[in-house]
Amino acid sequence: MSVDTTAAEQKSLFTPFNIIAGIILVAGLIVTVMRFTGGLGAVTNLDQNNPWGIWIGFDLMCGVALAAGGYTTSAACYIFGLKKFHAAVRPAILTAFLGYALVVFALAYDVGRPWRLPYPLFVQQGTTSLLFEVGLCVMLYLTVLAIEFSPAALEWLGLKKIRNVVVKLTLALTIFGVVLSTLHQSSLGALFTIAPSKLHPLWYSQYLPVFFFVSSICAGLSMVIFEGTLSHKPMHHMMDKEYLDNHDGLILGFGKAASIVLFGYFSIKLIGLAYDNNWHYLTTGYGAWYLVEMLGFVAMPSFLYAIGVRDRNLTVIKWAAGLTVLGIIVNRFNISMVAFNYHLDSADRYFPSWGEITISLFVVTLGVVIFRFITTRMPVFFEHPDYKGEH
């Protein structure tokens, strides 16, 4: 632990990060009050033609896709037996847990009557709805993640017996987690299969569920690299030898996997184009944007990853990860807001309001702040001395 800050600096809460975070949190609280006293109309740009905006397009869709690091990392370590990724599992699970918890939190802003969110499960089941499937799986997966994360909290609290019982569930939870993740990642894409007349043909496909699932793997692998890179300096003092020693190997290993999965994703999107004979759309305006998404945010990062892995150049891999994460956001935005309602007049199209942007920023900031709070206290980046070596 480096102690090169003065005692006064260490005690000060007013770091630049904290100030910005604080402003966002306060703004978020203000908009929250407006939302629940004035209704959605008071705060959003949603209208009768555009019922879903960035609270769905970003908070829900991107949030779920980018939290995929949880199931990919734990699957790599516990199902595929790649023990060298073990140190990365807890941070990935924590990110996923916070990610999904915040998705549910953000949903409470978006739906008209958030206290009725349990209704589809407990009152009346709309079993023909893909949203039912998403909701059920997200609820179950949030529970799985909470249990998967609990050993870290239990170790911190010193509850050894319960902790040991929970750790025995790891394999079952991991498998269950992959099953649930496959289901809800794909179903988020499947949501749009119900409206072929409203989604631009280049993005609409009966393969949407497959596209969303495969791209979630790319998202998960890339987010682990991305976050691992972002947190490396600020959280360095919490990282133990195992984590630090394996950091570079993690980046190389996940970079390799991400490269090939992105290649696979590109391939199946190509097949989707051919299956629906949509080639002629490529020469339109939307076509140009589609090519930007496919070439700049799928093909290019795949290639960059490959170069980084071949040359063992970690910097290139890290940039590829950032590009992939951005690409996932572009894709989810395209499907939910850009290519959706493509047939409407430009005057009737949607653009987020300041209120919506504030809440989305608020949710992300909450996540980062809580992540920092937990990782500076609980054994996430390091192994608790009482449980060292117990995999």
């Binding site: 959605l40 879903w52 209704y119 089941q125």
Partner: protein, 351 residues
């Protein structure tokens, strides 16, 4: 194997979409309920007087709009339904002057809103009405995403009790044996209400009787799996603001493939993943055993080599000591023989 199943299901969904009759799942057919009612809108009769809008407003006790219903300048802008307006009439440029079309919930036979709703708030009633239950609605607005006709509206300005809002086909009035408000009020009989198959017959009869007057198509007979509100028109339907690219596949058919894949994942993923785990465990175990063997081998080899070296050294030492002994013996013998030789030489010299 999974992909084939998924694609097979997609194929089934696609094939069923091509069938012209009632909605199909595999080879099952589901006809509309025999009591299904319908409304026919005849665009050649509508004069855009907006009395239907007024009737709807009164029957449903909706708030008065900014511009009154007899203000026809409203028709100069395109309008859609909203949370206070369950139906709108829009004006379009026809070949021989303006034409008008009334827009409202089409009460589909396979409602996309019902398919989408995760809390079963929408229901296709036996009498043809697609009803909405506000008491379970969570307000997710997926129904608004799903509706191909862009009908459901939302009460965005209600903070606590926002509802989805759309034409109810005047279900309470139907229960009393009355006609829907708009149908009753229309002065030109542009709206006709009756059993669905009768309505289709009436529409076909009109088209047959006046082939130059109508486009030969009853819109809503098959679109999106068929609707309870159908249209006949003198202009092409796209010219009166209706989408002709919706196809005949209903929402349930469109989502059938994705829904069918879900239980396959649940049934097979645990098997697959469990298998991968078992294989990776076995690989680890064998790798471990091989490592143990390798260590054993290495130790044994080292021991062998040590013994060999020892043996060699011992041999060498023995040979060395043997040679030394030989050398000593030789020396001793030489020393012993040397004086005898001198003596022999001396005696030879004396004789």
């Amino acid at each position: 194997m999974l992909r084939r199943t998924f694609l097979g299901l997609l194929g089934a969904a696609g094939a069923s979409a091509a069938l012209p009759t009632a909605a199909v799942a595999g080879t099952k057919k589901f006809g509309p309920h025999p009591d299904t009612q319908a409304v026919l809108f005849d665009a050649t009769r509508c004069i855009g007087c907006r009395k239907c809008e007024l009737a709807c407003n009164e029957v449903n006790q909706l708030p008065a709009p900014e511009k009154k219903f007899d203000d026809l300048s409203v028709l100069d802008t395109k309008r859609r339904t909203d949370e206070k307006t369950y139906t709108v009439v829009n004006k379009y440029k026809g070949t021989n002057g303006p034409v008008f079309r009334k827009s409202q919930c089409n009460h589909c036979l396979e409602p996309a809103c019902a398919s989408a709703c995760f809390v079963k708030a929408f229901k296709k009633e036996p009498n043809g009405v697609v009803s909405y239950d506000a008491s379970v609605c969570v307000g997710c607005r997926y129904c608004m995403v799903a509706c191909p006709f862009e009908i459901p509206a939302y009460e965005y300005d209600e903070p606590i009790t926002p509802r989805v809002v759309k034409c109810t086909l005047c279900a309470p009035r139907l229960a009393e044996g009355k006609l829907p408000g708009c149908v009753e009020r229309c002065p030109k009989e542009a709206l006709t209400f009756g059993p669905r198959d009768e309505i289709i017959k009436i529409a076909r009869a009109r088209i047959t009787q006046y082939p130059d007057r109508y486009v030969d198509h009853v819109y809503g007979e098959h679109e999106m799996g068929g609707t309870s509100w159908m249209y006949i028109s003198g202009e092409s339907f796209s010219d009166i603001g209706m989408r002709e690219d919706l196809g005949t596949a209903s929402a349930p058919e469109l989502t059938a493939g994705a829904l069918a894949a879900v239980p396959m994942v649940v049934g097979l993923w645990p098997v697959l993943l469990g298998g991968i785990w078992a294989v990776s465990q076995r690989k680890d175990k064998i790798a471990n055993e091989e490592r143990v063997m390798a260590v054993k081998d290495a130790l044994a080899k080292a021991a062998d080599e040590a013994e060999k070296t020892l043996h060699e050294q011992l041999n060498k030492a023995e040979m060395a000591s043997n040679r030394r002994i030989e050398v000593e013996v030789k020396k001793a013998v030489e020393e012993a023989l040397a004086p005898k030789e001198e003596e022999a030489e001396n005696t030879e010299e004396e004789s």
